[in-house]
């Protein structure tokens, strides 16, 4: 004896902007493919009430110099040879199934020498040659140095439609100007607040920067280390966007690998409670679950550090898109 159930569909009035990263030869670049994210007309994966034209994507993080502060698990899985050579690293990352590569410029080399713009350009060129995937380039995270390096990189990578980050409210003009001049995209980054996020997007677009060349970084914490703050900011942001607020209807990017692998659960195994279980399995679970939970709150791009996590997250995305 069935009872008629009316499936409750929300009437979202606005779609997330579609953003394309990378450029093929036909488009003036040298990427073997481009990646487009966004365009959703509903909350993540609610196929019954809207369109999800583009799946979320996974970027694998590589760095321009040996990441001596990384977890031993990461050092082991990538291998010394690879970790000392960004080109090899990019190649291997592509081989793991990455949709994009995120190159993080550490700011100094193993000996402590400050990275020059020329060195940064060299690295980016090597990486662009070693992989056909679209590229994200992040500066060391210090305003002056970021600007110095990214301006040079923007020029050298003209035509490739790379993503550059991070733009913050204290420092965005130089990076945005460079991105405008050379046809790139930017990451707009604010600390866990819907209104601040909106504000920075407004400031960037006020410079006449096209809205469909912005990825929003809402700032998120790892599982157990603040994930729920980012998660809720993201749900609120995405809902506002779908309800019509154009300055919040942008694809979002989360630096999952970076946030997770700083944490004790993934970095160490000595002296930890037995209840934490196997080090590698819990680390992969930690990174994977942070990524998938944030994808559920609207992340369109997640950056990952462990190849096994890439596999799991991509499998998850596939299943969510295939409707099973």
């Amino acid at each position: 004896m069935a009872v008629e159930v009316e499936i409750p569909k929300e009437n979202w009035s606005n779609a997330v902007v579609e953003v394309t990263i990378g450029a093929t030869e036909a488009e003036g670049g040298t990427r073997s493919k481009t990646v487009t994210v966004g365009g959703e007309t509903t909350l993540p994966f609610l196929h019954f009430e809207g369109e999800i034209p583009h799946p979320p994507v996974v970027a694998v993080e590589i760095q321009d110099h040996y990441p001596e502060d990384w977890s031993p698990l990461l050092l082991e899985t990538w291998g010394d040879n690879v970790l000392h050579d960004p080109a090899l690293w990019a190649e291997k990352a592509e081989g793991c199934g990455a949709d994009l590569i995120m190159l993080r410029l550490r700011g100094k080399d193993e000996k402590g020498n400050r990275t020059t713009p020329e060195e940064a350009v060299q690295t980016v060129k090597k990486v662009l040659e070693a992989t056909g995937l679209p590229l994200i380039v992040r500066g060391p995270g210090e305003a002056e140095h970021d600007n110095e390096l990214l301006v040079a990189v923007a020029e050298a990578a003209e035509g490739e439609r790379i993503v550059m980050g991070l733009c913050e409210d204290k420092n965005y003009r130089t990076i945005v100007a460079a991105a405008m001049a050379h046809g790139h995209l930017v990451i707009s980054s604010t600390p866990m607040d819907v209104n601040l996020s909106k504000q920075l997007v407004i400031l960037i677009t006020d410079m006449r920067f096209p809205i469909d060349r912005i990825l929003v970084d809402p700032t998120t914490g790892a599982l157990g280390y603040g994930i729920e703050y980012g998660y809720s900011v993201m749900e609120r942001t995405r809902i506002a966007g779908l309800q019509g607020d154009k300055m919040t209807a942008l694809p979002m990017i989360c630096f999952v690998g970076e946030e997770c692998w700083r944490q004790k659960e993934l970095k160490v195994n000595e002296g930890v409670p037995p209840a934490w279980g196997d080090w590698l399995i819990r680390s992969i679970n930690w990174e994977a679950m942070t990524a998938t939970t944030l994808i559920h709150s609207g992340a369109d791009v997640v950056t990952i550090r462990h190849p096994k996590t890439v596999e799991i997250v991509k499998g998850f995305i596939e299943r969510m898109m295939a409707g099973n």
Binding site: V3, G277, R282, M289, N324
Partner: protein, 450 residues
């Protein structure tokens, strides 16, 4: 949804007798709607009317209790779809499935492991909630044996999983007043399962995988037969179907007041996935998106710990920034020569730092500053953890009286304030820059601090 004045009026005798103290039944109805007077101020109100009013003011989603005593699981009573709209209220139960076809020794071991498992986070003990015992054998004796083995090793709440009502009955006989969840009533066995649920006063799961119309129909039958505590199983076992269907069910309950779906949902993430990692992330999805009871196939700490953490995170009340009381905290009986560290009063920060100081084994003083509940970097950016604030709290809590030296260790992330803080503190105070990450504290205290 509460009844309107007009709806209440329809339930009244409409005689305008004035015995309630109001001139007309309509006037009385308006006061009842405004909650200014109780419905039973009317001496002629029918039982049916009372029921209708009570039903309409019930929460949109039932609270279901499984188990008894301190370990009982309470799930349901949610009022929002998104935690940011208010908060989620009841953490889903995380259970481990045991099959009666497993060797007895294994059953005993798993039950004991589930019972004893816990991890600590932010000063709280996180545990599993119980065992789901499945009658995979189809036999009564095997099931009872397995049940005995489980009960001998844990007092935690149980989910009894059996298709045959005879097996379920035998199991319930042995469980007495433990209040297990009966899984499940189906199209084929619902009337027998309903009788058992009523006899033993247990919550009853309702399984129907043929679509929401069919599920609603089965729930209605079970409700009409007199069962009140129901748990839904729409039979969705994958990532996509469970997300879409569970969202629909929750929306129907909360936004459309569809009472037949006003119940918690039970999920089995292991059934639709091909690896323990997949199961983990599907279970995580169910935690965030509307799962009430989540049954895992394995006991694996490396999987359970992240899931318990996610559950804690998602079900934290977003309106209450968890903060510690500012002040001086002592670790391991510090002396006036012991090191002094300082940090913010955001609870996650505090517990990270406190945990590491404890782990170092070095007796220490920790000045927890009032950063209005913000973490180190956030507080510093907001001006809530700068030289001025720290110096203020050093003074406020009489830190100088507790230590003989004048050295304070600040978090590495705010190294920039070193000079300023020394200035603010004055005298012969020296500011030492500690590590950036809490996990470096033990090494720092042992190697750098003499």
């Amino acid at each position: 949804m509460p009844l309107s004045a007009l709806e209440i009026y329809k339930l009244l005798p409409k005689t305008n007798c004035k015995e309630c103290g109001f001139p007309t039944c309509l006037a009385f109805a308006m006061r009842v709607a405004a909650k200014q007077v109780e419905l039973d101020a009317c001496p002629y109100i029918s039982e049916e009317a009372k029921e209708k009013l009570a039903a309409a003011s019930r929460p949109p989603m039932r609270l279901v209790t499984v188990g008894v005593g301190d370990n009982k699981i309470e799930v349901g009573n949610e009022t929002v779809l998104f935690r940011h709209d208010r908060t989620f209220v009841h953490e889903p139960g995380l259970m481990i499935r045991i099959k009666d076809t497993q060797p007895i020794k294994e059953i005993e071991e798993t039950a004991a492991q589930v019972d004893g498992y816990y991890v600590e986070r932010v000063g709280m003990k996180l545990c599993l909630n119980g065992v789901a015992l499945e009658n995979a054998s189809g036999e009564v004796e095997t099931y009872l044996k397995a049940l005995k083995a489980v009960q001998a090793n844990t007092d935690l709440p149980l989910i009894l999983m059996a298709k045959d009502p005879k097996v379920m009955a035998a199991a319930l006989e042995n469980l007495g007043d433990e209040n297990p969840l009966i899984y499940a009533a189906t199209k084929d066995n619902w009337s027998e399962m309903v009788e058992l649920a009523k006899e033993y006063k247990c919550p009853l799961a309702v399984y129907e995988a043929d679509g929401l119309d069919e599920l609603a129909g089965l729930v209605q039958q079970v409700e009409e037969a007199g069962v009140e505590e129901i748990v839904l199983d729409p039979g969705t076992r994958g990532f996509n179907d469970s997300l879409n269907v569970m969202t629909q069910i929750r929306r129907l309950a909360l936004k459309r007041n569809f009472r037949l779906f006003g119940y918690p949902i039970i999920t089995f993430p292991g059934e639709g996935t091909n690896s323990i990692e997949e199961e983990t992330i599907l279970a995580g999805q169910h935690i965030a998106k509307y799962g009430g009871f989540i049954v895992l196939e394995h006991f694996n700490p490396a999987q359970i710990y992240p899931l318990l953490t996610l559950r804690l995170n998602i079900f934290t009340d977003p309106r209450v920034p968890i903060q510690m009381e500012p002040g001086v905290y002592e670790f391991g009986e510090p002396t006036p020569e012991s090191p002094l560290l300082t940090t913010t009063n955001f609870s996650l920060t505090y517990f990270s730092v406190a945990g590491e100081i404890e782990a170092s084994g070095v007796p220490s003083w920790l000045l927890v500053c009032d950063s209005e509940g913000m973490s180190v970097l956030t507080a510093w950016a907001a001006g809530n953890f700068d030289a001025e604030r720290i110096a203020k709290d050093v003074k406020r809590f009489g830190v100088a009286d507790k230590i003989s030296h004048r050295k304070i260790i600040i978090p590495g992330l705010v190294a920039v304030i070193m000079g300023e803080l020394e200035e603010e503190l004055g005298g012969d105070w020296k500011v030492l820059v500690g590590p950036k990450e809490a996990m470096e504290i033990p090494r720092y205290l042992k190697e750098v601090w003499e």
